[in-house]
């Protein structure tokens, strides 16, 4: 199963660069990054090449950090691909609480990261629909 690292940060300049530098120095690659902004603070979600190590390093650096399972869906990088999968999830009554994506190879492959309410059922449903969900190893070796 794929996982995302979430870091709590105050909304002030330099926080992202600080975190990115720490991960960079430790040879950890950031595949994707998003921020949930709540005004005075934000949550930075990171898909890292080595989430376990990213989590431990940031924890040691004093950050409040958590690691949560997410679903990584491999998709075609073409118009309508996102609509296909989200329509399917909607029909299956899977509620998405957060979603973001990144391209692996332009015009070829992309990855959609999903946070959902009912994780186990969602993964089953997605697989049942013929979509490929990425394992932890697959995400590391992208």
């Amino acid at each position: 199963m794929a996982s995302q690292v979430t870091v709590f940060v105050e909304n002030k300049p330099g926080r992202i660069s600080h975190i990115a530098r720490i991960l960079g120095k430790n040879n950890i690659n950031i595949r994707a990054i998003t921020i949930s902004d709540r005004g005075e603070y934000g949550l930075i979600n990171i898909i890292a090449s080595d989430p376990d190590r990213a989590h431990d390093i940031l924890l040691k650096e004093g950050f409040s950090v958590s690691r949560n399972y997410v679903i990584g869906v491999l998709m075609k990088d073409r118009p309508g691909a996102l609509a296909d999968i989200t329509e399917y999830l909607n029909e299956s009554e899977i509620n998405i609480s957060n979603a973001y994506g990144f391209i692996l190879k332009s015009g070829d492959k992309a990855v959609l990261i999903l946070e959902v309410d009912d994780f186990d059922r969602a993964e089953e449903v997605i697989r049942g629909g013929g979509f490929h969900t990425l394992s932890k190893e697959e995400l590391v070796n992208l």
Binding site: E10, L43, S64
Partner: protein, 431 residues
């Protein structure tokens, strides 16, 4: 010709007669108070002169709290018609009980005070203080009715409505906290209202918050009115204990109703006129709950010279400070311990907080900073937002003030080593 006094005989009584009246009323007070649980073994039955008062022990706020709920009640509960209460640091309130005559006497003092500043029957008085357990709302309300002015019981908040009431009914007198008055002024500017020309305001009672002379003058200039400082505390009824006359140089304490002493807060020794110390009051007319030698915790001085207005009751200066760490936030009395107790009861917060009081848009703002420590962070926004809500609600319940909660990164607040500074008052003193 307009009569200058509400009660000329009492207001201009000569000092000697006033002292005789005080002694007479003090002895009645001692007699009444001795019927209460608290005072019965603490006070003499009678004293022969006022100087003997200094041998009677002080009453403190904690004495009031410890005698909760009825330890100081001096009459049967059936005689009590109203109570007022303030929130207390230990979760226990301080309760003051009033008989019908107590309310009547209080009302008369408020009417006398308002009349002294120039309020008359023809005035329209918009009372913008909170009604309820807080004494500022109801106290001025009944005083104004007694005086015969038209009262608009607007209570606090809802600025748009306040402005509409002022315009629709041509309010001439307002009772307002200085910070709220400044806040209203910014709204006037947004709406293009010039209070000097577009409104009929002529008198403002600035209450519930200590404020500087500069703030008062600024408000007078901005609004084009006369602002009067006043002083009161719920233990001594509330408003109507001391009020400025039209000369606006010190507040007359109604000495027919209260014995005023200024003491050295450290030794308890009495101080002379002109010396700065803690204000101590004894009620002279209270039936339901007489209080003897009450230490207010407020620091001020009396004026030695007579007032040219003709009133013989001594004047006190502005309150210069407190003998304890009590804070006044948005007009509400709060002790840091009260806030800390609430915060420490929330497991996620524990010892991990900083209390900041700031001035935002002229208004007091209570801001609680809490570190999102590693052990309480599980990655969810919902969790963090519900923590904020919980802290805010718990504090509102205890202190009546809604704080702003700011979540900050771990290890960003001052470390708690021994007695860490957990309260930072960053308010502009001279807004």
């Amino acid at each position: 010709m307009d009569e200058a006094y509400w009660d000329k005989e009492i207001e201009t009584i000569d000092r000697h007669s006033l002292q005789q009246l005080q002694l007479e009323r003090l002895n009645k007070t001692l007699e009444r108070a001795s019927k209460s649980q608290y005072y019965k073994r603490r006070i003499p039955a009678k004293i022969n002169n006022l100087t003997a008062l200094k041998d009677i022990p002080f009453t403190t706020k904690s004495d009031l709290r410890n005698s909760f709920p009825e330890g100081m009640l001096a009459v049967s509960r059936d005689e009590i018609v109203r109570l007022h209460a303030s929130s207390g640091t230990t979760g226990r309130a301080t309760v003051i009980y009033h008989t019908k005559r107590d309310i009547d006497n209080w009302t008369d003092l408020v009417a006398r005070s308002m009349y002294m500043t120039g309020v008359r029957k023809s005035d329209v008085f918009q009372n913008m203080m909170g009604y309820g357990l807080f004494t500022g709302g109801l106290g001025l309300h009944y005083g104004s009715e007694r005086l015969g002015a038209l009262i608009i019981p607007a209570s606090s908040g809802n600025s748009k409505r306040q402005i509409r009431l002022m315009k629709d009914f041509h309010s001439t007198v307002v009772h307002i906290t200085p910070s709220y008055a400044l806040h209203l002024y910014t709204l006037f500017q947004e709406k293009g209202i010039d209070p000097k020309n577009d409104l009929d305001l002529r008198i403002a009672f600035l209450g519930a918050e200590p404020h500087s002379e500069e703030t008062k003058l600024r408000l007078e200039n901005l609004f084009g009115l006369d602002a009067y400082n006043s002083y009161g505390l719920s233990e001594m009824n509330g408003p109507g204990v001391a009020f400025e006359c039209q000369l606006k140089d010190g507040m007359h304490v109604w000495e027919d109703s209260y014995i005023l002493e200024i003491i050295d807060p450290d030794t308890g020794e009495g101080l002379s006129d002109g010396e700065e110390g803690e204000i101590v009051f004894t009620t002279l007319k209270r039936e339901g709950m007489p209080i003897i030698r009450y230490r207010t915790g407020d620091i001020a001085q009396t004026y030695p010279e007579e007032c040219p207005c003709g009133r013989t009751h001594r004047k006190i200066s502005r309150i210069k400070g407190r003998t304890d760490d009590m804070l006044i936030v948005k007009g509400v009395n709060v002790y840091p311990m009260q806030i800390e107790k609430v915060l420490m009861d929330i497991p996620e917060v524990d010892n991990n907080y900083l209390i900041e009081i700031e001035t935002v848009d002229y208004l007091d703002s209570l801001n609680i900073k809490v570190e999102v420590r590693q052990n309480i962070f599980h990655g969810g926004i919902k969790e963090l937002e519900s923590l904020k809500k919980r802290i805010s609600e718990d504090l509102k319940n205890e202190t009546l003030i809604s704080p702003r909660i700011t979540l900050v990164e771990p290890n960003s607040l001052p470390k708690s080593e021994g007695k860490a500074v957990r309260v930072v008052d960053k308010r502009d003193r001279d807004v």
